[in-house]
């Protein structure tokens, strides 16, 4: 079967740069088709909108929801959360905006996913739930916008991509920098050959370490207030401690993928994109201090590091070719060499943390069925890279990797770290 690539690498160089430089404007189209004309066939009347449900919306999720609701073709109808206070907070926010009391609340994910009127889900739970919730939503026929990181393991990454392909559902990872002007521009600069032959890409990551400890047990709250078993979901059981549910789950191995994944979900993903490696991964991972240096089959280096950045904002990336380099970050500013490349610059005002353009891309893709900017395939690949890097860093040794099988070569111990058994009844 002949399949079209979604890369634009076949375009002439100059044309590519121009189109990429303007891509943010294209992606930012407010509506591909007027929303009033494009409701899903079973939900057209009366709203003719994309009907949205929310799952696990805390601080980041509430921000995402606010951005979703700025789009007039979105109707938010229900929230599901294992924490009562969050259910109530989201309902209050949604009802105030809609002027009614219609936002339904659920504690059990299966109930909200069973609603046939809901087209799409916004998922912003803790990391441990991202893959499981996304997959379960796809199996229920929903399109999904899910916060990063998208997975906890290599196996989860693969299952995520497979499931969304299997069900022909739209998936958008919350790696919004793929829809933000300065990062799009930097990618375009590489693709246009303005840096010459690319030899190294750098991704800003955080210190990788996690803990295997348990916090001291505390009495479990009433199930309706906090459903601890559901909070744990597919993760290994441990005694309840209120710190976990207040955000203190970060840094614990069972719940968190570590610092490489924490920012690598964004920055490694950007490097994969810029290097046109969305279809593959590096073939070697070498731990270096608090980071990992990786190499692709064609010799391109991917440096994941937490130090040595130029102060251009969080989640910085740097692309180096044999004729020049560019570094950019969440400030929207650049450093470019040689200076002559400054002629390619333009003004970017959107911060790297702003998901609004990315969300609009997702909504448009629900209607056009075009793969979203951070679709499950590209998200899975870049997450596999971060997971593989973290495994190499934990083992403290160089690992060889086969991108086709997503398995380490001749390293049984590393291969066994590619997945974790899930607690029943949760399954990929």
């Amino acid at each position: 079967m002949a399949t079209a690539s979604h890369h634009q690498s076949l375009l002439p160089r100059r044309r590519f740069l121009k189109s990429m430089a303007k891509a943010s404007a294209i992606f930012a189209l407010p509506h591909i088709i007027p929303g009033s004309a494009l409701g899903r066939s079973n939900t057209v009347a009366p709203s003719e909108r994309i009907v949205l449900g929310g799952l696990g919306l805390g601080g980041r999720g509430t921000g995402d929801l606010s951005d979703f609701l700025r789009n007039p073709d979105v109707q938010f109808v229900a929230i599901c959360d294992v924490r009562k206070e969050r259910r109530l907070a989201i309902k209050k926010m949604a009802d105030q905006l809609s002027g009614n009391q219609d936002c339904a609340m659920y504690r059990d994910m299966h109930e909200i996913l069973g609603r046939t009127d809901i087209d799409a889900m916004l998922i912003a739970t803790g990391d441990r739930w991202h893959t499981m919730a996304s997959i379960t939503a796809a199996r229920a026929g929903k399109d999904v916008y899910c916060e990063k990181p998208c997975s906890m393991t290599i196996a989860e990454s693969r299952a995520l991509a497979d499931t969304f392909r299997k069900y022909d559902r739209i998936y958008q990872a919350g790696t919004q920098r793929r829809s933000i002007g300065n990062f799009i521009f930097a990618t375009g600069l590489v693709a246009a050959g303005k840096l010459g032959k690319l030899h190294t890409v750098h991704a800003n990551t955080l210190p990788p370490a996690t803990s295997h400890q348990w916090l001291p047990g505390e009495p479990e709250p009433a199930k309706d207030d906090v459903d601890w078993d559901m909070w744990l979901g597919p993760c290994p059981w441990r005694p309840y401690n209120s710190q976990y549910i207040r955000g203190g789950w970060r840094g614990f191995f069972d719940f968190h993928g570590g610092g490489i994944l924490e920012w690598g979900a964004h920055t490694v993903d950007l490097c994969q994109w810029a290097a046109q490696k969305d279809h593959t991964t590096p073939v070697e991972f070498v731990p270096e201090g608090s980071g990992v240096h990786a190499t692709y089959a064609d010799g391109l280096k991917l440096v994941m590091r937490d130090e040595g950045w130029m102060g251009l904002g969080t989640c910085s990336v740097r692309y180096e070719g044999d004729e020049g380099w560019i570094e950019t970050g969440d400030s929207g500013n650049f450093a470019i060499h040689p200076e002559s490349l400054r002629t390619e610059q333009t003004v970017f005002r959107q911060a790297g943390t702003d998901p609004s353009t990315h969300i609009r891309n997702f909504l448009n893709c629900i209607k056009t069925r075009q793969p979203a900017n951070s679709n499950a395939d590209v998200a899975a690949r870049s997450h596999v890279v971060s997971h593989a890097a973290y495994i190499a860093w934990q083992l403290g040794r160089t690992l060889k990797f086969n991108p086709l099988t997503e398995a380490f070569i001749d390293d049984d111990e590393a291969n066994r770290m590619r997945s974790r058994a899930l607690r029943a009844p949760w399954r990929l």
Binding site: T116, K166, M417
Partner: protein, 736 residues
């Protein structure tokens, strides 16, 4: 990034870092270390749940068949069953498969579900017969797990079991359907298309929720690929938008001229069968004439409207001959559903306005997909739709031209952009701005030289949006045009087209503006231009040469622009202004220095912070501290900068900012010593104590002595209960 976003981002980082468990400077080894034998001993002892759980997690990476019997015994235990599977699942030994199969008959409930899942994860092809027995299990979770496991195994034997179960009303349902999809997907990936197709067809015939049929249809289309488009075409013709959208998904994926041809062929068929109608059709104005002589025929044209349509001849019978011996036109301005349109026909022709068919989103979506495919073979069809298509499709075609269009599309898009209003006009402008190709730049630039009126304004805008540098000369001329709108538009376009040797044109407009709006336009254009100038120092010199003679307001703007330019010359110029005699510039110059985009502003910031009686010394000190925080320095360099900042600081809030940098960016014994030296200053001691505890927590694993010493001093210095509790807790941890 605006300030609130910056604060938010920084806050998120601090939140993340703050939430990390203590002392994670290196990966913690799993608590249960040792040989496999030692770990088995733990599992068979009266060790705590935690110890056994961690032993299992460690066995997941080091266990062999030796530990399997011990682990299997845990499968029935309430809190260890999952941990046992955690260990067993990745062990690469067939004894695990045998053991898991053997456990099936001895477990129930969640434990049974879990073991079935593990069998599925391990893709144990020898388990299909065992799993089949559970498909009709009374516990639906057990049945669903068995189905899922069979799907993951995905062998021909498993596929046959699932297909049979799908055809049996007792077992058919979403779980079996999901498993069939999983198996089919694997066959498809392996190129075993007949197996895949058989399963997809089975699902399409089954009574299932719609989304399973959508998924199955998608798989069925993938099996057929670009060689057999019949089923895909059928879906494109479906009145059900969901199935149409499945075909649309394939339209993005399938390559080939035959696919493009087939898609183009389908476009005209995607017309709604519903009755066409306008909600509101209003003639606003109609005129008949030529050149500057026009006769109002609005009433005559309005009277000719029948229902939603009009058909009227453009001739002298409308209202006589307004201008003899000249070919005339009938032009009509009207609205459809509130959107303004214009149409004109030459004398002797019939002006017809017919209602478009009811908007059909399928046609528009297919046009969009053709645009995304980027196959130029679709260009003629897209151009025709942009000219004559129904409103929704016309809009989609105009958008598709952004990707597909070439120079032949330009005249039509210009006409649409000028002659219409609303969304389609805006999209035409956007497509004109985004279409790739040097010939388009040349055409637009040439046309700009001879254009006027609305067309000129549009071409100016396009020159700017496309960055047509060859148009800069003409744009410069237009900055002196009589019409202020043209002047401002030209300046805006120069921001993205002007070259270094032309920069003075905009600087002139900044220094000697004809109005405040011209000054603003010049400033904004220069800001864009500054980012693009290839030689920063040369650009800075252009500004610095004009700075001394400029009025104060323009001087301030130039200082801001020098901050955008960056580089050594710009920095020297701003520094000179900050230190100079003209105090009116100190405010702006220090503001610019405080936000300088590279660390080389640090020395001048520190110099000004140490200058006695300098009005902005506090601002410059904060700028210096910000540099120490924002940019990449070695620990030694950063600590030295913090010490310099503390030496220059005269206010407590400034010293607290330094404590934050030490705590967050360089937690080290040296930083700790600096912070501890402030423990006895009453107004600072709480903040110093808090910083000391935070730093001590970070360094304790590698330098417990320094941490302990500092914590003891904290306990002596503070009365704050929270800090005391934290310090005691940390001392206790270090002591253990």
């Amino acid at each position: 990034m605006d300030v609130p976003k910056l604060i938010l981002t920084y806050g998120l980082i601090c939140f993340f870092l703050g939430c990390l468990p203590a002392s994670l400077v290196a990966q913690q080894p799993p608590p249960a270390e040792g040989s496999e034998e030692a770990l088995i001993t733990v599992l068979e002892s009266n060790a705590s749940l935690f110890d056994k759980a961690k032993a299992c997690q460690q066995l997941a990476t080091v266990g062999t068949k030796a530990c399997v019997p011990t682990l299997v015994k845990l499968l029935a235990q309430e809190q260890l069953s999952h941990y046992a599977r955690y260990a067993l699942e990745p062990i690469p030994d067939q004894s695990v498969d045998v053991a898991l199969r053997g456990a099936l008959g001895q477990l129930e409930g969640w434990h049974l579900v879990g073991v079935i899942q593990s069998i599925g994860t391990r893709r144990d092809v020898n388990a299909t017969t065992d799993l089949e027995k559970f498909l009709g299990h009374a516990n639906p979770e057990v049945a669903a797990a068995a189905a899922s496991a069979l799907g993951r195994i995905g062998s021909p034997s498993a596929a046959n079991i699932l297909k049979t179960a799908m055809q049996d009303s007792d077992t058919a349902g979403p779980a079996i359907a999901d498993a069939c999809l999983t198996a089919a997907d694997q066959f498809l990936a392996k190129g075993e298309l007949q197996w895949a197709r058989d399963l997809y067809d089975t699902l399409l015939e089954a009574d299932l929720p719609k989304h399973f049929h959508i998924a199955s249809m998608y798989g069925a289309l993938k099996c057929r690929g670009s060689d057999d488009l019949k089923l895909m075409i059928e879906q494109l013709q479906s009145e059900d938008l969901d199935f149409f959208q499945v075909a649309l998904s394939m339209a993005y994926e399938l390559q080939g001229d035959n696919v493009t041809s087939a898609l183009i062929h389908e476009i005209p068929k995607l017309q709604s069968k519903s009755e066409p109608s306008f909600k509101k059709f209003v003639i606003l104005k109609a005129e008949y004439g030529a050149d500057t002589t026009w006769r109002d025929v609005t009433k005559q044209v309005t009277d000719a409207v029948v229902g939603d349509s009009i058909s009227i001849a453009a001739d002298n019978q409308l209202a006589g001959d307004p201008i003899p011996n000249v070919e005339k036109k009938l032009r009509v301005e009207y609205t459809l559903d509130g959107l303004l349109h214009t149409k004109s026909v030459p004398e002797g022709m019939i002006l017809e306005i017919q209602p478009d068919p009811h908007p059909d989103v399928r046609q528009a979506l297919l046009i969009y997909a053709l645009g995304v495919r980027g196959d130029r073979a679709a260009l003629p069809a897209i151009l025709e739709l942009a000219r004559t298509g129904p409103a929704e499709s016309r809009l989609a075609a105009v958008r598709a031209l952004a990707k597909l269009g070439d120079v032949t599309a330009v005249p039509m898009l210009l006409e649409i952009a000028i002659a219409t209003q609303g969304e389609i006009a805006a999209e035409s402008r956007t497509s004109l701005a985004n279409m790739a190709g040097e010939p388009i730049d040349t055409l637009l630039s040439d046309q700009l030289a001879t254009s006027e009126g609305p067309e000129r304004l549009l071409l100016i805008e396009l020159a700017g949006r496309r960055g047509i540098t060859t148009a800069a000369g003409h744009l410069i001329q237009l900055t002196r045009h009589d019409d202020p709108a043209v002047r401002i538009a030209a300046m805006d376009a120069l921001g993205t087209t002007i070259q270094l040797d032309q920069l003075n044109v905009l600087i002139d407009q900044l220094i000697h503006p004809q109005s405040p709006s011209i000054a603003n336009a010049a400033s904004e254009a220069l800001r864009k231009a500054c980012l693009r100038m290839p030689d920063r120092d040369a650009c800075a010199m252009e500004f610095l040469r004009r700075l001394p003679s400029a009025p104060t307001d323009a001087q301030k703007t130039i200082l801001t622009l020098l901050g955008v330019v960056g580089g050594p010359k710009a920095l020297a110029g701003v520094a000179a202004a900050a230190k100079g005699d003209d105090s009116a510039l100190h405010d702006r110059a220090t503001e610019v220095l405080g936000k300088w985009a590279s660390p080389d502003a640090a020395p001048v910031l520190l110099e000004l912070a140490n200058a006695d009686h300098y009005s902005y010394r506090h601002r410059t000190l904060r700028g210096y501290i910000s540099v120490a925080r924002r940019f990449d320095y070695s620990g030694v360099q950063r600590i030295a900068m913090c010490q310099h900042a503390l030496d220059a600081a005269t206010r407590d809030d400034e010293k607290k900012l330094v404590f934050d940098v030490l705590k967050e960016k360089v937690p080290s014994p040296e930083s700790l010593a600096i912070v501890v030296s402030y423990l006895k200053q009453d107004s600072l001691k709480d903040d110093a104590c808090a910083a000391a505890v935070a730093i001590a927590e970070e360094i304790a694993p590698r330098d417990p002595k320094s941490a302990q010493d500092a914590l003891q001093q904290v306990l002596e210095a503070t009365n704050n209960q929270d800090i005391t509790a934290q310090a005691k807790k940390l001392l206790d941890q270090i002591g253990r």
